[in-house]
Amino acid sequence: MRHGESVMNTDLLIQGAELMLLGMGIVFGFLTVLVFTLRGMSLLADRLHQPEQVHPELPPPIDVSDHRQVIAAIAVAVSRYRATHGA
């Protein structure tokens, strides 16, 4: 029985080794393909860049709830201005 187990375990180790080769192969393969695809994507994006300029009305990231942030920022700016300009 002990012998059978060890055979089984060797089988399992071989399977594991195969899985390692396969896995690292796929991980490297996938990410290498991604490297080239991303370069292609960047080239494509660069070409499409001009039309993008035509639509500058994409919504700004600040939403209404941030209002307070804006007020805070304005207040800080004003107080700095005063501090600098001796008001």
Binding site: N9, M20, G23, I26, V27, L31, L38, M41, L44, A45
Partner: protein, 431 residues
């Protein structure tokens, strides 16, 4: 009255607590200590530690399903009925329940429900959050919404560093199987794969994979993954210094080019497309990661992006943490296997770091010295801790050497890399 007192006494923890439960309560308290005092990934380890204590409250059975509650209650008639459903003698019900699956397991659950036994609170959290696979995926969506992939888009070659670091995963897989020569260890291929993913240094990926391949080991795997992620500042620097020369560590890298808004929008879609074509088994993980990132970068759904980054991820984290804790029951956690998992996890982090740095050295050579090999260490992911460690080690060698942005590329590449590795393991082992 006497009956009442006896019922109460029998229901008390001190009359029922087992030594294993005491140990696990201490483990839970230890995790909470590490989270609060040492700042070890507190967002996860604090709920996990608390869930661990709750799961080991004696008698309450908070982490048991209906069948577990039936066993705890110990009503002879009900035990008999369960034994009949499972086709085992009453004396072997414990094992019978553990090994029941398929139709027998479904019938046992239905019987327990019909007899009025309901699953405990933590079991319900686990079923909804992890059993369904949903919680780690929602966390991954939040990670996508919180992550800026600019550094990777500016320099896609750093993806290879994220690839190399996954060697930690696959070598640990071999290690887990090799451990089987030691008596007491008997990991299947699925279990070894679930353990190996600790090397991915990515919490939600580890929980997702473990829930599919080895739910019984999930507690130990998650604890190991988050603990080692917290230990990254201690584990990585010696390895990084061992494998690099002082002059390599001093290399200052060229500033990254700016990335356009359009590139950021196309990035998640590109990654998803490759996943669809080459590794559909990674689609849940990669899909939710890229979805979250598209919510972020599209600029038109800020409401949703913020929900993914805050409300959803916070609520899910609480439930996920308690659910992971529910798997830290004494009888599952206190075994030699857990020690093996902890040892293997540490090895996985070390090997992954080393593989990343060595790939960094290779890129250093090939690029004519432009790449600082330290950034390879960030390829294990553990975002953003590993990138910060790289920055710190770089600064030690050269006070003007700010590597943080350069390390973010391999760092987020590591997230993608370990999701890909998880996809491979699911496709081959989980199929």
């Amino acid at each position: 009255m006497e009956q009442g007192f006896e019922a109460i006494w029998r229901s008390m923890g001190i009359a029922n607590i087992e030594i294993g439960q005491i140990v696990m309560v201490l483990v839970g308290a230890g995790l909470i200590f590490l989270a609060i005092r040492k700042g070890f990934e507190p967002l996860l380890l604090l709920p996990i530690g608390f869930g661990c204590i709750l799961a080991n409250v004696p008698v309450a059975g908070l982490a048991e399903d209906g069948v577990g509650q039936l066993l705890l209650a110990g009503d002879p008639a009900h035990l008999g009925a369960l034994a009949q459903v499972l086709g085992v003698p009453v004396g072997e019900l414990g094992d019978g329940v553990k090994h029941a699956h398929g139709a027998a397991s479904s019938e046992a659950k239905l019987l327990a429900h019909n007899l009025g036994y309901e699953p405990g609170m933590l079991y319900q959290f686990y079923a909804v959050a992890i059993g369904s696979g949903v919680a780690p995926l929602l966390i991954f969506m939040g990670v996508g919404a919180l992550t800026d992939f600019s550094a990777l888009i500016a320099k896609p070659s750093t993806l290879l560093l994220g690839a190399a670091a996954q060697f930690g995963i696959f070598s640990t897989l071999i290690g887990a199987l090799a451990l089987n020569v030691i008596p007491g260890f008997d990991f299947t291929l699925a279990e070894a794969s679930a353990i190996a993913i600790i090397g991915g240094a990515d919490g939600p990926t580890a929980i997702f994979l473990a829930s599919k391949l080895a739910p019984d080991l999930l507690g130990a795997i998650a604890v190991a993954a988050y603990s080692y992620m917290a230990l990254v500042p201690i584990i990585q620097p010696p390895i990084m210094k061992l494998l690099t020369t002082q002059s390599e560590r001093r290399v200052e890298m060229q500033q990254l080019r700016p990335v356009s808004k359009l590139e950021k929008i196309l990035f998640p879609l590109t990654v998803l497309l490759l996943c669809l074509l080459f590794l559909p088994s990674a689609a849940p993980l990669i899909g939710m990661l890229t979805f979250g990132n598209l919510l972020r970068e599209s600029g038109v759904v800020d409401r949703l992006s913020k929900a993914a980054q805050n409300e959803i991820i916070n609520a899910v984290t609480i439930i996920l943490g308690l659910s992971v804790g529910s798997k830290l029951q004494a009888d599952k956690f206190l075994s030699v296997e857990t020690l093996g998992i902890l040892a293997l996890g540490a090895a996985a982090f070390c090997i992954g770091t080393a593989a990343g740095v060595l790939m960094g050295k290779l890129m250093h050579r090939l690029s004519g010295g432009k790449v600082n090999p330290l950034i390879g260490a960030a390829g294990v992911s553990a975002v953003p801790m590993a990138a910060r460690v790289v920055n710190k080690v770089g600064l030690e060698a050269n006070h003007h050497n700010f590597l943080l942005m350069h390390a973010m590329g391999p760092n987020v590449a590591g997230v993608i890399g370990s999701a890909v590795a998880a996809g491979v393991l699911l496709a081959v082992v989980g199929g």
